[in-house]
Symmetry: C2
Subunit: 502 residues, 2 copies
């Protein structure tokens, strides 16, 4: 291989392949030669080919498909454009829309709406055994409050596992919570007061918006790229006047877009917010679901001053039904501890002890590898299905981690109405309008790809594509109406908790 | 027996015994004749004697002591006077005091501070077996979110058990929570907005005050009698101007006083608040810990319009480490459900299923009978100990349920300073100043009597009495200072979350 001074063998190889893709020699969907073939053909080491592929994956030019090798990424999959919300704080009133959504989607079988892997993906039998062993040895665990901070054995295991991303945390830095959602509650209650403005990605997780509403917080949506995450430039601008009390975001595989911020952007983000005295609440619940070789670092890894409140959870990783999450709240730790004390007091000790044992065993890493492979495969399949089944002009993200896909349908389609039709056929998803306090993203939807691929899942996606096409054809946009949404208890619709004037 | 027309046999008998007590013929601490003796001597039925004793218990003239029979109540035990707080809303800033308290009392062995029974009082082995059976049959339970409202099997069991107090609830009326404290969080978040004024008993549970602080609520302390609960007259006055957004209280065996409202007062309370449009959040976590024959009815039993948000928990009844509570929120149910969704999403299904099985079995009632007996005995012992060991002029409550005792030391003693001395000897309790936003009750303390009686517990109470006497002698009141309270992380003291101006 021709190599200029200073260049590594792998970068030369990577550039060659990239050039072939750019020139159309290698087409989207083409299979690349295997690692061994390339090694033999080019006379380089396996490690060099490996590294070249890693670089190409990072540049989003190729992708690994489980058990099949590496492929040129589908260029069909064009992501939606960056969001451009107005930089004006808004009161949040998503209550009613969220309630409608929950009622509509309750108990639907072919569901693309629950942001969790299928129950079959979790190590149930292993956990059951560990739990029973623990209880047999320490039956008193059920009658023990366990304390607000959480069991030390678990906190130590959590700390050890943060080594992977350079966490440098100790057991004392960690507060156990009832899942990731309680961690967010504690963080927000620790650093904000009613009426405060909180900066978020746009779009952002609807549960977070509902949380803001119930806490009387205003939201400031920051322009965000569906592939590369929140614009730090825009955040810089938005935080200049000192009116932002906190920032909540998911730098790794955000919900709903699956965007991933670069390390450089994370570093800038952490420095900026620290200088401005704005606490950063980082939600990293999808960080472990990476597809490449290396776990992306969270912003917390760049935190030198304790200004990042890092939230994570084992809910999506190990067992949704255990409800164990955690927060490392840096310099806000004592506030967080006291709020845990009055929110749920403690997290069941038996869940914590069982999880600690699971983390201590090698079974955890093994399980994660399996889970990552599943997610990656399912995201591939859904992306392929979107290309095949969905109307012309549809755009979507193809995240490099997590299992969420953010889909933009042609302008004019109202995905809340599409959902009404879909649930009739037992298919569900999350409509885009839930992900913004500004009622934007009406023609967007979030698909969760947590279900192992099957002809049924494929059929549901195809059917959803057909329904979407029909909505495009009917030009649904001309008929805006919320008729047809009937609440089960008409007298009991939730009142809007936060007054419009806040 | 001489009986006037319209009088029942048992009321005549009860009046006779009451008259003997009033005349001093029967002295405090005297043992009454046994049921059988009285039956034989008076020629009435056993049921009549039984009923007469019940009436006398209700009038707080006699008390049952486990395995010993009935005794004339210790007149020594004079309760503290009714509280007379000013009817002015106050911002709550208990954070710092609570933090000091938590740091001081952490891990103390001879503890009168945790409001929970000793771990040995709970049916650990039974629960362990039920949990293991459930998991073996349904291992998928650990990977199942379970849904925000909770498992139907548990909600049905809960509903069935409310029959005892005339609950008339169905499974649909019940929302499962992460312990009683989450139930209070959900209730408050459902019916209040930041800045609202909430009426409470005075004194009231310090966790509730902390909750108000973190939610930006103001508190209005209502005059309360340590034996008979909140003054409905005062509440009537306080809610006339329409400025009270909600009322939170514990009509049955309140924390910290152990007061019990009469049925008539509860009925008046419920009607009054309904007429005024003020939601009543009722915390009934001690309701099952009654000493007499009948469970006292909660205010919810008198609720015809769904204005009462009834909170309860199995934490103190069955297993603190399971963290299962519930709320029946009446007409506010849908708000509560949506807030559960964003606070902790769901309660671990395995805990719910295990508890449902335990409730279904007869073991639950059997366990409760044991627990009630223990509480009653321990309250007796603590009351006796207070009479023997504590300084002249000490007054305390002798509740007819629960296991909390509210103690007033002579004026001038600062119980926060007493606590500082006590923890040096591994003895702890909750100082009175925690129980008011107005920093009242400085010479009060709350004793939890959850520990089975033993020479060690007796010794700790005696030692506490000695320390209290020393504080009286030293005239602690003249030297007010918080010196000596050192936080473990001096830089991390919790900031006051709610500004004084709200």
């Amino acid at each position: 291989m021709a190599r200029r001074q200073g260049e590594t063998l792998y970068s030369v190889l990577a550039d060659e392949i990239a050039a072939m893709i750019a020139a159309g020699t290698l087409q989207p969907g083409d299979k690349l030669p295997s690692l061994r073939e390339l090694r033999d053909r080019r006379g380089v080491s396996l490690a060099t080919v490996n590294e070249a592929f890693r670089v190409l994956e990072e540049r989003a030019l190729i992708e690994a498909r489980p058990q099949s090798g590496f492929f040129v990424r589908q260029r069909l999959c064009e992501p939606p454009p960056s969001s451009r919300p107005r930089l004006v704080p808004a009161a949040v009133t998503v209550n009613r829309r969220l309630w409608d959504y929950l009622q509509l989607t309750r108990g639907k079988r072919r569901s693309f709406c629950y942001a969790v892997m299928s129950p079959s993906c979790f190590p149930n039998r292993q956990l059951q055994k560990l739990m029973n062993d623990t209880l047999r040895e320490q039956p008193g665990m059920l009658s023990d409050y366990g304390g607000p901070r959480g069991l030390e054995i678990l906190r130590r295991q959590i700390a050890v596992h943060t080594l992977e991303w350079g966490g440098r945390l100790t057991a004392d830095d960690i507060q156990v919570t009832a899942g990731g959602i309680e961690a967010l509650n504690l963080a927000l209650r620790a650093v904000t007061q009613p009426g405060d403005v909180v900066a978020v990605e746009s779009p952002t997780y609807f549960g977070l918006l509902q949380l803001f509403e119930s806490m009387g917080l205003k939201t400031l949506e920051i322009p965000t790229d569906p592939e590369h995450g929140m614009s730090v430039d825009a955040l810089d601008l938005a935080t200049r006047d000192g009116n932002v009390a906190a920032c909540v975001m998911m730098p790794n595989f955000s919900n709903p877009t699956g965007s991933l911020m670069s390390d450089a952007a994370k570093l800038r983000l952490v420095k900026l917010l620290d200088e401005r005295g704005v606490p950063l609440i980082e939600d990293d619940i999808y960080g472990e679901f990476y597809q490449g070789r290396d776990r992306p670092r969270p912003a917390k890894a760049f935190d030198e001053t304790g200004n990042v409140l890092y939230c994570a959870s084992y809910t999506k990783l190990v067992a949704p039904g255990m409800r164990v999450g955690w927060i490392s709240a840096g310099r806000y730790s004592s506030q967080v501890e006291i709020i845990k004390y009055i929110n749920t007091f403690s997290t069941p000790a038996i869940m914590q002890a069982t999880l600690a044992r699971f983390l201590e065993s090698g079974a955890y890493e093994q399980h994660l590898r399996k889970l990552r492979k599943l997610c990656s495969e399912q995201l591939c399949r859904v992306s392929d299905g979107l290309a095949r089944y969905f109307p012309e002009g549809t755009r979507w993200t193809r995240p490099r981690g997590g299992y969420l896909c953010w889909v933009e349908l042609p302008n004019g389609v109202d995905t809340m109405r599409l959902l009404e039709d879909a649930v009739q056929e037992d298919i569900s998803f999350a409509p885009g309008s839930l992900f913004s306090a500004r009622r934007a993203y009406r023609n967007y939807l979030r698909l969760c790809c947590g279900e192992p691929w099957s002809p049924q899942v494929d059929g549901a996606l195809r059917r959803l594509g057909e329904l979407a096409k029909r909505h495009v054809d009917r030009g649904e946009s001309s008929r805006r109406s919320d008729a047809g949404l009937v609440l089960p208890h008409p007298g009991q619709a939730p009142r809007i908790i936060v007054p419009q004037t806040i």
